[in-house]
Symmetry: none
Subunit: 140 residues, 4 copies
């Protein structure tokens, strides 16, 4: 039903992206799933008094989009997520559209592993960067 | 209203934890928020045919509990999340209770930054490990 | 579009009920809306070690069904909710079907106010009882 | 893992608060959980024609914040919620930030029960007041 990722189809330089607008509903649902009820995410008055000046999205909420690209587009279904590094470089405001992009930067054929550069942007601004390590099944 | 974290209150060796049972509802809401609709999370038939043999939780869903400990307990509200490394070491089944634990391992007083060892466990098994880097406001 | 409640239609002894099965999804969504992430609701291991022996629903979650009967059935849309007393008499387990019942016990025609006995049950067991005070518009 | 409330740590006059901004998403999720689909909460046209002039939050939604303070801060995890009285004194508009505050007003050492004054405010305005009765475990 779903086409699965194959290590043999990967090449250094391949990229894939997806974008999502972060709404009030995302903040609320993510606070439930993560149990992260930090006031900067759910209390407008406290957030206004904070460094950020308004409510912002959970950093890990945006990071989840990286996982979504890896698991649904490149490499795609069947990918085993082994590791991720994340640098949170700028806050994401509610209503912002976050685009997550991954790019294959290295391949280890023996272990069928791929390293990907992972970047989340809002407009021109990088809000998260880092690197993912995945394992991808061999064909058939 | 909310007590904020202060760099001066941190000491190497401090730890904090929180736990959450990962339910069907978490999988559904997290797939909505992250757009990660990988079949291994939401399609029981495809998951049964996969390496995992059943549906599993998104790795990044469990990682969100680390962010929750950092933002609500140690260091707590006011913490600025700068970076996170994650190694996904074992899958999390639906119904499992994930406990996220953070431990202060290094402090940089000049930059008011703390490094914390971050671990997610299910029972005795480590499912995620890694390291967080945060910045914490100075007192008053 | 919606028929509104009228004080003149109320009589002592009238009753109305509604029931709802409390699922995992209710617990998760209510924890988001209320910010109540008490472990007894969301952490199966902690709940097992508690007095209750398993996760239970938030008491206020069940109490919300009382408000629903008042606002949608008796007296119905247009009702102004003025006050409520609640005694939490027994825990509600996940999967239980809670039935909220209201019964008009007193009417104050001058102020167009009604007092209602409010009860939530699971099977034969009363889990919440108390009293509601509402104001209801006069006809036309 | 979670520090539990102890009756011995309570003293008359202690207070705790938490705040939350009530968003569209809260209204939707709370209407789902409570089944309270009263038009004044979910139908902008009907709400405009009502006494309130616009959609308002469910009173019991704001009341849930009281339960959250009791269960997560004061007294905290382990608290058994025995009763609550609520007076709904003013409507809460969508977008308002509700702050729930509890204050210990009486202690019954023999039964390990505490009475707390409970207040929800929006800015300077009291929107709900009332009283909570809880039971708190003795230490160890």
């Amino acid at each position: 039903m779903t086409q699965s990722a194959c290590f043999e189809d990967l090449a250094v330089g391949q990229t894939a992206s997806l974008g999502k607008t972060i709404t009030e509903a995302d903040i609320l649902l993510y606070s439930a799933v993560s149990t992260d009820t930090n006031p900067v995410h759910i209390n407008e008055e406290a957030a206004r008094a904070s460094l950020f000046g308004e409510r912002i999205a959970h950093g890990m909420l945006s990071a989840g989009l990286i996982s979504a690209v890896l698991g649904t587009r490149l490499p795609g279904p069947g990918t085993i997520y082994m590791g991720q590094t994340l640098r949170f470089r700028a806050p994401v405001k509610i209503g912002a559209t976050v685009v997550a992009t991954v790019e294959v930067t290295a391949l280890n054929a023996e272990k069928r592993r791929a390293t990907l550069k992972t970047t989340c942007t809002v407009g021109e601004e990088v809000v998260i960067d880092g690197e993912a390590l995945v394992q991808v099944p061999a064909r058939g």
